[in-house]
């Protein structure tokens, strides 16, 4: 807690926790810098940043949800629904801010729905969000019979390649998303609630905390972030697509796990998630630059996850 405020806190977090991901990330960068031509070029670094931004925006709230001993399997499907909502609104001629608002609302509504399932109806998160996954995917497909929507305002795709403050706009959005999430998790009562919900829910209740309200807030926050991710996703494809984002929740989960957040007892580390996302991004990018056989790329994603967690597990064990 109060990590970045305190040098000792900072060092404790950086060195003691989950060194696995640091090792892996450093190794990956080193190997690719030597073997892959153009890996360290500015253009390529921009690529990695842009490619990782959407995943990070999903992985951040996923970290919070996992800290509450929850899970959100619906993120990918909801991103698709948001993307369709934004594209449809825009294609109907409404201005871009309206489209964004629609997207955020859809994401938020989906998140709240998850929150209600988990908190009020007490359905285990895995099952509840699995249900939401199906429903969101179904709705997104029904909207246009599975077609993507392309006639959207140019401003949306332009945002993806725009640069603000010398940074690609999606990267900037991701950085802001991190800052906000970090603040929420480590500096507010909301963050205390997140840790307490996973660490000792009973204690939180006895301290007069609202379990339901907090859970709904966490999932609702995730929904908002899905709204943002959905917008970036639409911008990236210049189109609304109902199913292209399916499965992204698992990438987000992998990133969170890579970053050293445990699935139990509210034990986690937000910055680790950033590292996890980067590791996945760097790996895929580097292998592409090397022209690695695709089937081996598939294997390597799995190995990355296994090795990083093995290193951490090994450390924990000894």
């Amino acid at each position: 807690m109060a990590d970045l405020a305190l040098p000792t806190g900072l060092s404790r977090r950086l060195h003691v926790r989950s060194p696995g991901i640091w090792v892996i990330l450093a190794l990956l960068i080193l190997v690719f810098a030597v073997t892959a031509p153009g890996f360290l070029s500015q253009r390529n670094i921009t690529n990695i940043g842009q490619q990782s931004s959407i995943l990070l925006i999903l992985a951040l709230p996923m970290t919070l949800i996992i800290l509450t001993e929850g899970l959100d399997l619906s993120m990918g499907a909801l991103t698709g629904l948001v993307s369709m909502g934004i594209a449809l609104t825009s294609s109907l001629g409404y201005p871009v801010p309206v489209a964004i608002l629609v997207g955020l609302s859809i994401g938020f509504a989906g998140g709240l729905f998850n929150g209600v399932l988990v908190a009020k109806l007490q359905i285990p998160p895995f099952v509840g969000t699995l249900g939401t996954l199906g429903m969101a995917q179904g709705l997104a497909v029904v909207m246009t019979d599975g077609q993507s929507i392309v006639d959207i305002a140019d401003a949306i795709p332009d945002f993806y390649s725009a640069r603000v403050l010398g940074m690609p706009a999606p990267v900037l959005v991701a950085v802001i998303a991190y800052a906000v999430t970090h603040f929420l998790l480590y500096r507010t009562q909301f963050g205390v609630a997140v840790f307490a919900l996973g660490g000792n829910r009973e204690a939180w209740k006895l301290a007069g905390g609202h379990v339901d309200r907090c859970l709904i807030a966490v999932y609702g926050f995730a929904g908002l972030m899905v709204g943002i991710a959905g917008f970036l996703f639409t911008a990236r494809m210049s189109a609304g697509h109902p199913t292209a984002s399916l499965g992204m929740e698992f990438d987000a989960l992998a990133a969170v796990a890579l970053g050293g957040t445990s699935f139990e007892r509210g034990n986690g580390w937000l910055f680790g998630t950033v590292l996890g996302v980067l590791a996945i991004g760097v790996l895929r990018n580097g292998l592409n630059l090397l022209g690695f056989a695709s089937s081996m790329q598939v294997v390597s994603v799995g190995l990355l996850v296994l090795v990083a967690l093995f290193i951490d597990g090994f450390r924990r064990g000894s």
């Binding site: 807690m1 840790f195 301290a207 007892r265 509210g266």
Partner: protein
């Protein structure tokens, strides 16, 4: 507060108005009538002891007082004013704070955040926490307790005793007018107990009303201004310490007289050596430990909390790996896993029954059989009927208060849960029993039963190693004892010099 009430001077017919009172409280859980028409008053400046057997309903009553449970019937008064109590928030509003029997700490938050959980000082932005104020304030309460814990340490890194201190600081920080302590000393060693008592006395002189649940008779008489006894969910009576005796209290609790001296015939000639540790160090931190236990004797393992007694037990049982030295079991070298230890006939009754002893979601029957499945069903076929029969006979033998063997273990009271863990190992028919704090949170009646049981075990020629933080138990029960300090064995005492002073001298001052 009430100027005419001095600490310790309260009597029921005093003119003073109780700070809080509960009247005619009823509470049922499915299948159990936990409380029936129980009333209790708490006056400013008094320490009101609540006593009763395991499962008598003490914790339930206190949970109702602090709003964690809603009562089925009954009334609640604050300063004579009738109020409703619909949740923990209400209780806080009335200045009621609790130190729970089970810890209510969040492992990955730090000490300060735990102390002020839910009441963090606000910063400028909505929901923001003023970290500076948070740490300053938390530190204040830690200082008050005379504790040297760093407010920034994550709670999961603290030792049990330290966690208990945080728990107490947390209650203190609520500036409560009523403080409920549910077995606060069961995880503390004598030194920390002393510290806690100092705090309690200070609070008492400030006029805080306290309800204090304990199974330790000594502290009941040391601290208590009044003693209320509950049996089977019913109010039995309230006594002033000066007017009663431990024996009377026990009779009230149990409904019959119980011999509390734990007097037993000490073992004169123990049999062959069952277990022997030679210069054992473990990955978990014990250093160069040598000890042995022979058939027919109860060997105590004493020391302060954190001295490494649990680690010795775990090393013997194979739960932690050994990094140096040798363990000999029945004459042969052995180094193993819990499975191997069990198969060789070693039993470990662990110190934390909820996390290490029981599967709380499973039935009493299933828990009781979990250590002896292979032995009981050697063909591999499991017979539910046979299992139920065995469980029933164990329930009877240990007098476990449960409506049926099918009841979920998590629904039993703490003491009865402990009996289930013991039952599980009785059925495994072991040769060496290691009891780690077997009487933690257990009522006097059950305690006597457990010691009778342990005595019965050694009479059958079994060997017992018993860890206890209650010196009186070590002294009254054991044939021999080792004392540990800083993860090492610092001394061995036999019956002739097994006395309070000699143990304390070794445990605290040695080296």
């Amino acid at each position: 507060m009430n100027a005419h009430v001095r600490p310790g001077d309260v009597s029921p017919d005093d003119v003073a108005i109780p700070v809080v009172s509960l009247k005619g409280i009823e509470k049922s859980f499915p299948g159990v009538k936990a409380l029936q028409d129980v009333s209790i008053d708490l006056y400013a400046g008094e320490v009101h002891m609540i006593m009763g057997e395991n499962g008598a309903g003490k914790s339930t009553l206190m949970k109702i007082l602090c709003g964690a449970y809603a009562s089925d019937a009954g009334e609640f008064f604050v300063h004579g004013q009738r109020e409703t109590l619909s949740g923990p928030q209400d209780a806080r509003r009335f200045g009621i704070a609790v130190i729970f029997q089970e810890f209510s700490l969040v492992p990955h938050l730090d000490v300060a955040q735990n102390i002020l959980l839910g009441r963090e000082p606000r910063g400028l932005l909505p929901g923001q926490i003023d970290l500076r104020a948070l740490y300053a304030e938390a530190q204040r309460y830690l200082d008050m307790l005379g504790s040297d814990i760093d407010a920034r340490t994550p709670v999961h890194r603290l030792r049990v005793a330290e966690q208990q201190m945080v728990e107490i600081a947390k209650a203190l920080s609520q500036d409560a007018r009523v403080l409920v302590l549910d077995e606060p000393t069961s995880a503390l060693s004598d030194r920390e107990v002393e510290q806690l008592f100092r705090v309690i006395r200070a609070l008492q002189s400030e006029g805080v009303a306290m309800a204090y649940i304990s199974h330790r008779m000594a502290e009941v008489f040391e601290l208590g201004n009044r003693i209320t006894v509950i049996r089977d969910g019913q109010f039995i009576g309230t006594k002033m310490p000066a007017e009663t005796s431990p024996d009377e209290i026990v009779t009230m609790m149990v409904g019959r007289a119980v011999d509390m001296s734990y007097g037993r015939e000490f073992c004169k000639d123990p049999g062959e050596c069952v277990i022997e540790l030679r210069n054992v160090s473990s990955t978990n931190g014990i250093k160069d430990v040598s000890l042995h236990v022979r058939r027919g004797e109860i060997v105590g393992l004493s020391g302060l909390v954190g001295s490494g007694r649990t680690e010795v037990a775990r090393a013997i049982f194979g739960a932690d790996a050994i990094s140096a030295g040798e363990i000999r079991y029945c004459g042969g070298t052995y180094r193993g896993t819990p499975t191997k230890a069990r198969d060789l006939g070693i039993a470990l009754i662990p110190e934390n029954r909820k996390t290490q002893g029981l599967a709380l979601a499973r039935s009493v029957r299933d828990n009781m059989l979990s250590a002896s499945l292979g032995k009981t069903f050697s063909t591999g076929w499991f017979s539910p009927r046979r299992a139920t029969e065995i469980a029933r006979s164990l329930i009877e033998r240990l007098r476990v208060a449960t409506p049926s063997p099918a009841r979920r273990a998590g629904l039993l009271s703490g003491g009865n849960q402990q009996k289930v863990v013991i039952g599980k190992w009785l059925n495994a028919d072991s040769d060496l029993f290691i009891f780690d704090e077997p009487t933690r949170g257990i009522d006097v009646g059950a305690k006597a039963e457990i010691f009778t049981l342990i005595d019965g075990l050694v009479k059958q020629g079994k060997a017992v190693l018993m860890i206890s933080s209650e010196l009186s138990e070590i002294i009254n029960v054991c044939d021999r004892a080792y004392v540990m300090k800083d993860k090492r064995v610092v001394g061995e005492l036999d019956r002739s010099n097994l006395r309070q002073e000699s143990v304390m001298k070794l445990a605290v001052h040695h080296g």
